[in-house]
Each structure stands twice: as structure tokens, then as C-alpha cells.
């Protein structure tokens, strides 16, 4: 499997991230009734000791919604919020009296899962339409913990196939304030399929 991305491979993955994240941002903006912006997605092919660089390092505490991506382009989607962002999001949506990401109520937990589900769903339906592939997801699951601890789950699944993880990662902002991350982590097979769909050489 690949150990390095060529320019055209990188470009394609960035484009895929842009399309998915754009749709997810629209879904978030509709949900909050506020303007949401995104950065240009960052595409990294990394060894497992670098998977949490983008979200603030291995010990960064995050509320993470994890969805398995099934169908024609298997992989994982992670929708992540750092503590303050999770608290703001729940407060803005008026869910519960006071939001404390380390002590979420069951209602707040299901709200975060549902938000993750909606964002991942818009991301993947855009990706499915764009590539003409059939994609669906598992039910959303939530953990509030250190970044590497939550990453361990998708990385273990990936570790059976590869020593590298392809991370298509983006940030959401509301008035310059970080409001969350969305990561798509295709399996090596799904990554090769994406390259083939767009006629990009998988073995450059």
C-alpha cells in the first residue's frame, strides 16, 4: 500500500475533503442558524504515532463521534469537538441547563451523537453523489477522552492492513472560533478505489 502521496493523489483527496466538509458545514450552519466556515482540508498519510497531530496531539481531550463507513468506500468518519467547542455547541442548541463536556447528561450525549451523525451523513452523501458510490454508516458512537485513545479504535482496524493512515481532515469555524473537526479515514482499498474512479494513478 502507499507510503507517500503524489501531488495528484494529494489534490484529489483534498478535493474530496472539500466537497464532503462543505456539505457538512452547511448542515452545521442550518442546525445552528449561524455562518460556519471551513479551512482547506489537510490530507496526511501518517504513521500511527502522528494521527492526532491535527487535532492538538495525543492527549487533547475531545468529544468524539465515531461512525464506521460501510458500502463501496469503507473507512471511518470521526466528528470531534474539543471541550469548549462541545460546551458552546450544546449551549447554542439549548440542550440541557449547563453543558460540561466531562459530565454530559444522557440527553447531551445523544445530541452530540446526532450532530455527528448529521454532519457525517452530509459529508458522505456528498461524497457518494460525487463518486457515484453507495455509502452508508453504522450508528454513531460517542467517547469523551484523549485523542489517541479514541483514535486507537479506527487505527487498530486499519493496522491490520497497513502501517499508515490516510487522514482527510478539516476544521469548522464560527467567527474564527474552532467549532469542531471532521475526519474521513478511508481504508487503503477505498483510497485506491477513489483514485481509480478519478483516473489518478494509484502507483505513482
Amino acid at each position: 500500500m502507499f507510503k507517500k502521496l503524489s501531488f495528484s493523489q494529494q489534490d484529489l483527496m483534498t478535493e474530496i475533503g472539500t466537497i464532503g466538509t462543505g456539505h457538512a458545514a452547511t448542515a452545521m450552519a442550518n442546525m445552528l442558524g449561524k455562518k460556519i466556515t471551513i479551512n482547506v482540508p489537510q490530507v496526511d498519510l501518517v504513521t500511527f504515532d502522528h494521527v492526532s497531530d491535527f487535532v492538538g496531539g495525543p492527549e487533547q481531550v475531545l468529544a468524539c463521534v465515531y461512525l464506521e463507513v460501510l458500502g463501496d468506500l469503507p473507512g471511518t468518519v470521526l466528528v470531534m469537538f474539543d471541550g469548549p467547542a462541545a460546551n458552546r455547541l450544546l449551549t447554542n442548541l439549548n440542550i440541557g441547563e449547563k453543558a460540561d463536556y466531562l459530565n454530559l447528561t444522557p440527553l447531551q450525549e445523544s445530541a452530540l451523537k446526532e450532530i455527528g451523525n448529521i454532519l457525517a451523513g452530509s459529508y458522505l452523501s456528498a461524497l457518494g453523489d460525487f463518486t457515484n458510490q453507495r455509502i452508508f454508516t453504522s450508528v454513531p458512537n460517542l467517547a469523551v477522552d484523549m485523542a489517541d485513545a479514541v483514535f486507537s479504535v479506527p487505527m487498530i482496524a486499519l493496522g491490520r492492513m497497513s502501517d499508515y493512515a490516510l487522514l482527510i481532515q478539516a476544521k469548522f469555524f464560527q467567527e474564527q472560533q474552532n467549532t469542531g473537526y471532521i475526519l474521513f479515514i478511508p481504508t487503503p482499498d477505498a483510497a485506491v478505489k477513489l483514485l481509480k474512479i478519478f483516473g489518478v494513478d494509484a502507483h505513482e
Binding site: V139, D148, A149, S152
Partner: protein, 157 residues
């Protein structure tokens, strides 16, 4: 000397070295320690067993990480009969999803480490495994203490 290892890595150091690994979730932290030479090794392994014929990273698997640490420790003058082990990690991070059949991947990693160490005759003198929280661990080669931190607790074994 304070050194950090990440997922799928391992490191062996002499006292007064400290080896740290952050955010173990379903992965397993395996600490090996020889109190006589005060040499310690720490691995952050992801999967139970390597598959023969694949040129994978050694730190990724419980068995190959243990073998690699033992080889380095012996090369540094440790006697295998003096080496003891401590385990931490193997949590189930996502209650409904993180499992294959009835056993979580974390539990499988713990079982693999226990079994392989037993096979090698290396005693496990302490462990802090399972549960639903990520752990950050630090092995002090001075005395073999393993410090364990979660986002809401701290302990040492």
C-alpha cells in the same frame, strides 16, 4: 531523559530514563523491567499477533513488540530471568461498536499480552487494564514504577 513513544512504537532505556506514552485506548501498554540492571522497556502495541510473512512495524503487535524489547534489553546486559512485566490499557472506548463478536479489541490485546508473557515465563507483577477510559502511562526506569493517568484519575502500579 524523558522520551515519548506513540502508537505502534516501543523504546528501551536505562535508569534514570522515563518512557512515556499518551492516550492508550484499546491499545495495550507493555512495560518490561529488570530491577538489577535498571533497564526498562515500554511498548504501545495495537494488535495481538503479527502475521507471518508481512514486513510490518514490530511495535504494532504485542508479540513482536515484546520480542524486540527483550532482544534490546538482553543486548544491554539484562538477564531474562530477572525481567518482570506490567500491563496497562486495553480499554473499550466505544461501548457499542468497539468489538468483534463478544470480545472487545482491548480485551483481545490484554489476553494476548498475558498469554505471550506466560509462554515466555515473564511474570506480570501488576496490571491496570480494561474499563472505558484512555490512559497515559510513564515508566520510570529508576525503580520500574508505572504511572497511569486518565482524564479523571491518577494511579501508579
Amino acid at each position: 531523559m524523558n522520551s515519548q513513544i506513540g502508537m505502534a512504537q516501543y523504546l528501551v532505556l536505562k535508569a534514570p530514563g522515563v518512557i512515556r506514552s499518551s492516550g492508550l485506548g484499546s491499545c495495550i501498554g507493555i512495560a518490561l523491567y529488570d530491577p538489577f540492571t535498571r533497564v526498562g522497556g515500554l511498548a504501545h502495541a495495537m494488535l495481538p499477533k503479527h502475521r507471518p510473512g508481512r514486513d510490518d512495524n514490530k511495535g504494532k503487535y504485542v508479540d513482536t513488540a515484546i520480542d524486540a524489547m527483550l532482544a534490546e534489553m538482553e543486548a544491554m546486559g539484562c538477564n531474562r530471568q530477572n525481567i518482570v512485566a506490567k500491563l496497562a490499557g486495553g480499554a473499550q472506548m466505544f461501548p457499542e461498536q468497539d468489538k468483534e463478536g463478544k470480545v472487545s479489541v482491548g480485551e483481545k490485546n490484554v489476553a494476548a499480552a498475558q498469554e505471550y508473557l506466560r509462554e515466555l515465563g515473564i511474570p506480570i507483577v501488576a496490571e491496570d487494564v480494561g474499563g472505558h477510559s484512555g490512559r497515559t502511562i510513564e515508566l520510570y526506569c529508576e525503580d520500574g514504577t508505572l504511572y497511569i493517568k486518565t482524564i479523571n484519575s491518577e494511579t501508579k502500579i
